[in-house]
Symmetry: C2
DNA sequence: AGCCTTTCTTAAGATATCTTAATTTTTTTA
DNA sequence: TAAAAAAATTAAGATATCTTAAGAAAGGCT
């Protein structure tokens, strides 16, 4: 398989933001991560399957969502280029995924299998640190999301979402933004109307 | 300073749940973590101060909370024996804490300074893995909390809280449980009344 | 270009939760 | 143990958000 080197650039840059890696490390990392192309609407991870890969978006857009007993969808995460998206619980515990992961645009992900990653931790130990820091940052971001979801009105949450994730807001249907914010599409529509007046 | 060994037992057990450590490792870990006693209501970390320690509750109860511009308190985390409680963002970024951390009962924490912990990672490398896994688990738990806070009614959230954290519910004032659940104390009271009928 | 599907908007009535304020109960302190 | 302080309850009216249903707008496909 011929691998175009340039699709790995965002991944390498993303790692370099947090830790120092040598040229040799970079090659080992590139060897570990495999590209996967997804069509729009294609599902990358099905509920019930075990997630065995860590996944980095190098191009496009993914959402992770779960469907409750009543068939309602809840968006857990939206991600574009340079984001890591997964069902972490499934990945970490090797249990069936609770979430789906789906492409919202034509997308390329770079994914590394758990076993390969464990080996990579041995050959490039700094990657273990990278993932620890990545988790820490994700944890803090998520804690803030929880806090905001409880303390702020939907309108304020929407305004902050727009400020923070303008890139995402561009490519994601509005009803999915609503789902991410924990409100109905109708209510988001009402909020937008009020804001534009 | 004479350190009573037994207060370290919960910490060592907590670590052993996730990783394998030798007797020598245990001694290094014990040397790294310093005990701190707190009176009820005593504040362990003030907003504005930088959090320089990772903290494990070996006895008692802590809450981490933030106060918004209008003076309202929001509880970020409640923890009892065997829980790790901190303002992680402050710890990780060395920026002023956004949260307070306060003892709700007479409490003993074991805390390790960031610098000491970084050294411990070198002498006991498996501790880096321990904290990575710990973060991962915390992340998943928090993600579920976000999702539930958006998709479930306050009543259901309260019922699940009681099921999951009965130990915490015993020792924490009800209005703080309400704050943790993201509702007013009055509303929680109404819910409890309805449940008991 | 036109049809079909998806997404967005609008509005009315229903429900969940909040705000305020007064009262009761429990806990702490002197 | 009495007084003071903190916590919990109750209830009424206000507000935020949801549900339902219908129509309008936008996007995708042949």
């Amino acid at each position: 398989m011929i691998v175009k080197k340039e699709i790995y650039i965002p991944l390498v840059e993303n790692i370099k933001e947090l830790v120092t890696i040598s040229e040799k490390d970079i090659q080992l990392i590139i060897d570990a991560f495999k590209p996967k192309e997804l069509a729009k609407k294609e599902i990358l991870l099905f509920k019930g399957d075990t997630s065995n890969h860590m996944r980095f978006i190098t191009e496009g857009c993914l959402r992770s969502y779960y469907i409750n007993e009543e068939g309602q969808e809840y968006i857990v995460q939206l991600g574009i280029k340079n984001w890591w998206v997964n069902d972490l619980f499934s990945y970490l515990t090797k249990t069936p995924a609770q979430h789906f992961v789906q492409a919202l645009q034509p997308t390329i992900v770079l994914q590394v299998h758990r076993d390969t990653l464990e080996n990579l931790f041995k050959t490039v130990p700094v990657m273990e640190r990278f993932f620890r820091i990545k988790m820490q940052n994700a944890y803090v971001a998520n804690q803030n999301r929880t806090l905001k979801s409880m303390s702020e009105t939907a309108e304020l949450r929407y305004l902050n979402f727009m400020k923070k994730y303008r890139d995402i807001e561009q490519v994601v249907p509005q009803y999915m933004v609503a789902s991410y914010l924990g409100i109905t599409p109708e209510h988001l529509s009402t909020i937008r109307k009020r804001l534009h007046q």
